[in-house]
Symmetry: C2
Subunit: 173 residues, 2 copies
């Protein structure tokens, strides 16, 4: 079975809301999905080209003042592809948790303490970031999807907080 490029779907999903340029998609994801789905800087543009070639998006040149940009909108074929992915069962990701791997190989309490400490700090930072995104989302005007998107974020936050609690309980034993 062939691996599918899920960046495609992330991009199509963003375009369902409104047409956007590559740059806009990139920064939009940075401000919203970044903490559960991040693309590296340069992937968006080539994927957009492929999507255009496949007839899943249409491109149009737009001007903002004198600035030129290439704005993409999703086609019906693109919507169909998105829906097919959305409705298909979510694949297992190969588990790769470096923190747990290290914990598994730890041999004494000092090492465990250090790993826990490091993990705690990282999780707290992530938690703050999630909450910033949450605030931003809460401040924007109500849309049909806002409630669900908030839920996705709250899910992430609840998840992080439970992990933080567990680490705090365990580290003092």
């Amino acid at each position: 079975m062939r691996l599918v490029n899920k960046t495609r779907y992330a991009i199509l999903g963003v375009l369902l809301d409104a047409p956007a340029s590559g740059y806009e998609i990139k920064s939009l994801m940075g401000r919203s999905t970044a903490y559960f789905w991040r693309e590296s800087d340069s992937t968006i543009y080539p994927v957009l080209k492929v999507l255009a070639k496949d007839g899943k998006v249409l491109s149009e040149i737009a001007y903002v003042g004198k600035k030129k940009k290439e704005v993409f909108s999703i086609t019906e074929a693109g919507q169909a592809e998105f829906k097919a992915w959305f409705d298909s069962p979510t694949g297992d990701e190969t588990p790769r948790n470096e923190f747990l791997l290290k914990l598994f190989f730890a041999i004494n309490r000092d090492e465990v303490t250090r790993l826990f400490q490091e993990r705690l700090e990282k999780l707290k930072k992530m938690c703050e970031e999630y909450k910033k995104i949450e605030e931003r989302l809460e401040s924007i005007s109500d849309s049909p999807r806002r409630a669900i998107r908030l839920k996705a974020l709250k899910y992430g936050i609840a998840h992080l907080e439970s992990e933080i609690r567990w680490l705090n309980e365990e580290k003092n034993q």
Copy 2:
């Protein structure tokens, strides 16, 4: 900065305990680290070759009955490399949570319900698998690392259970 192949460290970590063949490493990981660190079938052997070439492991041909196998043991250089990785800060993995991505793009309650349901079933299965591994670990004779390894597993289980609770609470709203 170059991406490092973390499979190296997983293998070196296993070999810290005792020498083993590629096949043994593979099945050992299948029975222990599988739920936070899985390697695909054919990666172990080539990585072992590279490790041998780099002087991080030594190989020796052993016979079990008439069966031949290549047993690898870790060298001092290998132990040093492992320790360097172990002590270095744990890198961020690029977040790629397909479930949250889909949730983010959901537009109505039915879709959310379906996603939650699917996720719940998957988590329950994983939880059972973790618990099987836990039982196996608990049944073996005490070793200096057993307690820590149990902790790594309990961490995973606690994590899953909190996620399951959250989903159950949310899905009835």
